[in-house]
Structure formats: C-alpha cells, structure tokens
Subunit: 393 residues, 2 copies
C-alpha cells in the first residue's frame, strides 16, 4: 500500500494507496475541524487548490453533530461530500487541550464537554468506535500527549500507558472493521510515538510500536511548546527507529520551514491549522515570506497576493480589494486568504515532491527557505481581531 518512489538522504517520496484514492507524499492534510475548513471553504473548493487529504477532529464531531448521526448519514465522506482520503485524529489531543476537569485513568479519560459541560468518558475503544462511525480512511490511535514541560518520570509512565492503549485500539479496530454495516471496513490505523523531548523514551517507544505492523506511524507530542531545534532533534533521533516502509506523520506541524526541515528528516505526512487560522487574520504566505494584508501599505496595491500564483484569490483579486474586505469585516476577505494559504501549502508539497522526483530537494529547500525570509519584517505588524469569533478549533 505504501511504495517509496525515490529518496534523497532520509527524505522520502512515496505514494500511499487507500480505498479513497492514492496519496502522493510528502503531503499536507488540510484541517476541516468540524467537517468544514474554517473560512467558508467547502470540499468542492478543495478540488481547486491541490488538496489531497482532509483531516477532521474526532472530539468535535463526537460532540456535534454526534458520530452516531454521521454514521446514520452514511459516514463522513458522504456527510461532507468528500471524495478524497480523510484522516481523523483520536480525540485525545482535544481532550487534553480543550476539555475541562479531565481525569486520566488506565481505562481512559473522564472529562467535561467544552460546549455544554456534559460528562464524557473516552478511552481507546470509544475513540475507535467513534472513528469507525465516522468511517474515515485513516484512524489515529488514542494516546496521551504529555506537556512539553512534563518530567521524565511522568512521561515514561504516560508513554507505557499509551502503548497499552495502542494494543486496545488495534484490537477494537480489528473487531469493528469485521462487523457488518461498518462504514469503512478497510479503515486503517496509525500508531503515535510519544515521549516529549526525552530521546530514550521516544526511541524505546518507537521500537515497541513498530513491531505492531500498523498502517502508519505518527510522531506526536511535538509543536506543543518545545523549540524548533528540540523538535528537529527529536525527529533526527526517532524517525530512523520507525518503519521506513510505512508513512511517517508529524502531527500538528507547522510552518513552511518546519515542513521542509521535517521532510529532510524523513517525515511525509503533515497537518496544521496555520494556513487557515492565519488566513482568517489576513496573514498570507508567499515565496518571499508572510504578509499582513491589513497593513496600510496594501491599501492601493492592485497586485495579487503573490504574482504568478494560480490560487482562486490571486487569479482574480488584488491585495487592495482583499485588504478592504478584511477591514470591513467581510467573510469573503477571510475566505480568499484561507484559499490562498491552503493553496500555498498544497502547492509547496507538490514542489517538494517534484524536487524529490528530480533529485534536487536539498537545493530546492535552500532556495525556498532563503526566499521566504525576505518579507519576515512585514509580518510583524499588528494583528487583527476579525477572526476572533471564528477561532474555535
């Protein structure tokens, strides 16, 4: 199912077959928290911005509209009219970051809904059942994501429990996939490596979970407060211990530079809310760096966000127009910025794949990083409040 087409150093160029289509990697998954990309972007729009995979959040969908309702409506693909692979997270990360008064026990986590305060229990089996209801292409294992500041003793204890939870996830998913009326009986399971920034725990954990023959492996618990250098170090240490013949997914990362560095270290799946969240604030990515479209300097600028860009925003609208929309609080301004940013990310992944195909990834990476430093000063402007109401996931 996973076939490496080319390598350059540790960087992998591969393709990954799923029941919902073949994914060309490295790939950036576009985040559709509650089965919709924030910023008024639909699954139809995704077809015009080089999107390959959508990521939805299990925790949010469990609370609203309810995974049982999505199941009755035929699963996530039908519900959101998506004809591409969908990855669902386990819900674990949101339980730890959003939910109130959580208690972690061997059986799972007790917590209160951030929407209505209702008591909820979620353990490995519950997470698998919810994801099976959703019928995603790839399900993620239920894990604990310890704080970047947690001590060695706590992290060791937590990771051992996460390993026990992973076995329970695998057993439950095997059982669910074999049931009649399962939305996607070919649902795949990715395991998650944890261990905060402790090399010994990370490596030991990788050695244990790689023996389980899962469909893919993620590196979790990064981009949660540690420095970029610590993140790159962990990737250098742990990725070699994960199976090379399976996808390697760095969860929740990150900036364009983070992605380039991680590809070089062997990662080929990514996801992050940056392009959509920044877009809603009028912060847009270009090959010369990030720009804050709210800056006054763009008021009479009739150029597109990036000259030569083929996204739906740049193909037709000017910086001046989009700035006016953002200043006026018009949703259309956010939509155009989000479409541009997602296109920028998805297009960068295509550039990365082409560079790997042509054996010049190192040169491509160097040139791309140098280019993106040019505008860095411009992105220091004051940020806007317009997206506050929409900042939920």
């Amino acid at each position: 199912m996973y076939k490496i087409l080319k390598t350059e150093g540790r960087a992998k160029r591969a393709e990954f077959q799923t029941v919902h289509g073949t994914i060309q990697t490295p790939v950036f998954m576009n985040v559709a928290t509650v089965a919709a990309i924030k910023g008024a972007v639909s699954t139809q729009d995704l077809e015009g911005i080089k999107n390959q995979v959508v990521l939805c959040n299990t925790y949010h969908l469990h609370l609203r509209p309810g995974d049982d309702n999505v199941y009755r409506l035929g699963g996530l693909h039908k519900f959101m009219s998506c004809n591409k692979p969908i990855l669902t997270d386990s819900g674990g990360f949101q339980v730890f970051s959003l939910a109130k008064t959580r208690k972690i026990k061997e059986e799972g986590v007790y917590f209160h809904s951030h929407i209505n305060g209702h008591k909820i229990f979620m353990g490995p089996e519950e997470s698998m059942r919810i994801q099976s209801h959703l019928g995603s292409t790839i399900a993620m294992a239920f894990d604990e994501c310890p704080s970047a500041r947690a001590d060695h003793e706590y992290v060791k204890m937590s990771v051992d429990r996460t390993t026990r939870w992973l076995h329970r996830c695998k057993n439950e998913m095997d059982r669910l996939n074999a049931l009649p009326y399962t939305v996607n009986p070919n649902q795949m399971l990715f395991g998650i490596n944890q261990g905060a920034i402790f090399d010994d725990i990370r490596i030991e954990h990788a050695k244990v979970i790689r023996e389980m023959g899962l469909d893919g492996y993620a590196v979790g618990g990064l981009a949660v407060g540690e420095s970029h250098e610590e993140m790159y170090h962990v990737l250098e240490e742990v990725v070699p211990y994960l199976p090379q013949d399976k996808p390697t997914y760095l969860m929740g990362v990150g900036t364009p530079a983070n992605i380039l560095e991680a590809v070089e270290r062997g990662v080929d799946f990514f996801d992050c809310v940056y392009p959509s969240r920044n877009g809603r604030h009028g912060h847009v990515y270009t090959n010369r760096g990030k720009m804050n479209l709210l800056n006054a300097q763009f008021a009479l600028d009739d150029r597109p966000i990036e000259e030569g860009c083929n996204c739906p925003a740049c193909s037709r609208y000017s910086r001046a127009y989009i700035r006016h929309l953002l200043k006026s609080g018009e949703m259309l301004g956010m939509r155009l910025c989000v479409l541009h940013n997602l296109y920028f990310y998805n297009n960068m992944m295509e550039e990365i794949r082409n560079a790997l195909d042509n054996g010049n990834f190192a040169a491509y990476k160097k040139a791309k990083l140098e280019g993106m430093e040019e505008f860095d000063k411009l992105s220091k402007g004051p940020s806007s409040d317009i997206a506050k109401n929409w900042r939920k996931g």
Copy 2:
C-alpha cells in the same frame, strides 16, 4: 438601449443595453454592500448562480475604502473584478437610515459617519461625484426617502426638493461624464419617484420627472414600513405615469411574492438584501416556501435544500450537513445558504422571463405563489443568532 420584447398586461419583458453588457429584464440585482456580497460570496461565485447585475452602496464605499481610492484603483468593476453591470445607489437611503444626527437643507444633508462619527456633507453633486469615482454602470439620483408615516405637507415639500435635486444630479452627471479620466463616461442616471403613500404627490412627481429623459426610473420610498397592499396600490397608480420605454426599478423589494406582484404591475428591476440576510440566518427559499434549516427536523435529512435545484449548495450538500455547519457557527453554512437563496431569486427571474416570453406569466405567477405557501408554517421556528455579527449593511 431599452427594448421591450414582449408584454402581458402591464408586465414587461425587455432587454437593456449597457456598456458592461445587456441586461435581460425582469431582473433581480444582487446586493454587494461594500463591494462584496455578504456571506463570503465573490464576483466569481456570481457567475455560477445566474446573476446579471450587482448593486453596491455608495454611502458605505464612500466611507470605506473611500471612492477616491476606488477611483485610483480603476473603478468598482476593476476593484471587485466584476465583468457585469453594476448599479450604485445614491447614498441617500443610508444617510437617512444609518447616519447619526442628520440635517437636511436645500443644498444637501449634513450627517455623521456611523463608523467613526466624522462630519460629512452629501448633496446631489457629491453623490454624483462619488458614483462617478466608483464608475458604476447605472447611478441613482440623490433623493430624500421620507418616512412611511410622514404627513402630506412634509412629503410634498420633500418631493419638491427631491425634484430640484434631480435637476442638479443630471447637470452634474453630464458634466462629469464629459470630463477626461472619468472611469465610465457612459454612466447612466436613473431618477427616483417619491411621495410616500400619497397617490397625488406620487403621480404629480412622476409626471414631472418623466419629462427629463433619464435612462430609467425608480419607485423609491416603498418597503419602508407600509403594508404590502399599500405598496401594490402605489405601483398600480404610479407606474402608468412613468415612461414605458424605460426600465422601471422598484427599490429594495422584496419577497418572491412582492416581486411577482410588482412584475405584474410593470416593474422590471429589483434589489433586496433578503436572500443574503436570510441565508446568513439559515432561512432558505424553496418552491414550497421558506425553511429554517436550524430546525431539529433537518438533523438527519440527507436531501438537498431543494430537490432538483442546480445551485452550488444543492448540487452537493445536504440539509443535515448545512444545518450542522450553521449550528457550529461555521461560515461555510452561511455561504451555502446565501448561494442557494441568490440562485433561487435569480432563477425565479429567469422563470418569469421565460413565462413572459411564452405568454403565460399569469399562470406561472399563480402556480409559483400557491407552491410557496406550503412550507409557510415551517419558517415560523426560532431564528438564530449566528448571523448577528455579520448584519451590517
């Protein structure tokens, strides 16, 4: 420029040539208050929902981004990337409905900006200059829109002043169109009939302004508090006194039923915020009546808003999905409802034109009105708060 193709009673089927393309009438103009349709709908989207004409608000654009800036950016068509006719209102209606502490004098109106409180003066010449800066296809005359409850004496005095203002508008527009560097030297001017619900004032005013040889004539000051029956009565009385060989525009109207009744009474241009405003609240139009998508009954309804509808929402998404988006506060829910509602209105105008072409408008109107009564009870449900933040224009 205006050619009647067919009539049925007083109803007119015509086409109207402009420098930005030919308009088939009867037509519904889609409201893009600040040069954008509220609900994240772009000029590109308008091409897929049978839109013919866009209406922009002079008052809003004067305040932000400033008509001088729009002029420097090449006019509204270039600014918002619109390749269709654009009509701009005069700013008068917003001055009277939004601005604080206004004072009406012979020379024009003194008022304070609703955005920052700045003192502003707007008279006929100022309105023409702003609209000339914007470069719209059709400019509207600057008028006073008296309250539906104003007495006969006040309305008579106001309408006489509006007539004097109309002469000043025409002179100023002639002067502006002849200047070098005018964005649209072929800008057209529509006059506006006023008179509240007083037949004698309305008819006398119509007789005066029809002699001025303007490009079109609007009936203003309706849909501001009077009953539907009073509105239909005014149309019956006054439309026969307006030139039949010019477009007749009923400003700010209305429901699908209002439009059908007004077409029958000889009106062929319309505009209204209902489809976009209702869409943002999850209220959608169908041939069986209006539905409130927030109602619980749609939670598991996998049908499109309207079966057989070819709009971008119905072509792909279910009531259950759109309801979920609205309940979650996702902008995409509002966008899909606004796209559907605008399509419903624009498509109804096409049906009206086809019926007039085929000589069966009366039968069409009767069937359409009967059909739309079916769901009336469903639309009585509680309305949502989600669009409150967006209710600005």
